[in-house]
Amino acid sequence: MLEAIPMEHGLALAGVLFSLGLAGVLIRRNLLFILMSIEIMMNSAGLAFVVAGSRWHQPDGQIMFIFVLTLAAAEAAIGLALVLQLYHRYHSLDVDAASEMRG
């Protein structure tokens, strides 16, 4: 009875995870938590690709997941460097501390 997994359930799970990440980006003021929420969102996008790739039994979904993974690695490296810069300059991780827009 429960043997097969409907594709809609996989896509719904990706949607739930994406909404959780979006809510995290909107709610939190700490830059570190915002970066973690963005990771959740990227992960859910990769999950949607893998679900769709399994649905049609093609490897393309996993390949797009590898590219999402590359993007997440690049984003994490730059984002964490920005976290360190913010903390060195303002001694706080509050994103509102950096709202002065000076060079």
Binding site: I5, L32, F65, L84
Partner: protein
């Protein structure tokens, strides 16, 4: 029975752990919940017949990227004052509005996906060989572009990570 049970169990774990990430006040606890969430998604990939993606999720995401986050949290050495500040920021007034908006978007997403389950996922395994053949066949240009993206990210991280000598 096995794969479907693994899928739904891992889905529940992933959703609960992600919810704990965005509601946790302690950065280290949030990071550990995020690792649990990523491992649950790796289990989902495995149950969907994508073992190569599952292995990459574990090694690269839960292994490398999360360790990078842990290093940064350790370097910042955030104390209990930060946790108190986070608890203060997490008041219902702050999170009610964004939570309602996200929930509305989620309901809309559910309606557009449609919950009639007549498209079954094919859980037959797509192994690393098929992925590799396709990755270095039709997608080889995208692989080169991804390598350039990683190179530019490295240059940017090096540039941003320098100790700033110009004190304002």
């Amino acid at each position: 029975m096995g794969t479907a049970l693994a899928f739904y169990l891992a889905s529940a774990i992933a959703v609960i752990a992600s919810a704990r990430v965005i509601t946790s006040a302690n950065p280290v606890h949030a990071l550990l919940y995020l690792v649990v969430s990523l491992l649950a998604v790796a289990m989902i990939f495995f149950s969907l017949g994508a073992p190569f993606a599952a292995a990459l999720e574990m090694i690269v995401y839960a292994g490398a990227i999360m360790v990078l986050f842990v290093f940064v949290v350790m370097m910042l050495n955030l104390g209990s004052a930060v946790i108190e500040q986070e608890k203060q920021w997490l008041s219902p007034r702050a999170w009610a509005g964004p939570a309602i908006l996200s929930l509305m978007l989620l309901v809309e997403l559910f309606r557009s996906i449609g919950m009639e389950s007549d498209h079954m996922v094919n859980t037959a395994t797509i192994g690393p060989k098929a992925v590799g053949v396709s990755l270095f066949g039709p997608y080889v240009l995208a692989v080169e572009l991804a390598s350039m993206l990683l190179l530019s990210a490295m240059v940017a991280a090096w540039h941003l990570g320098r100790p700033n000598d110009h004190k304002e």
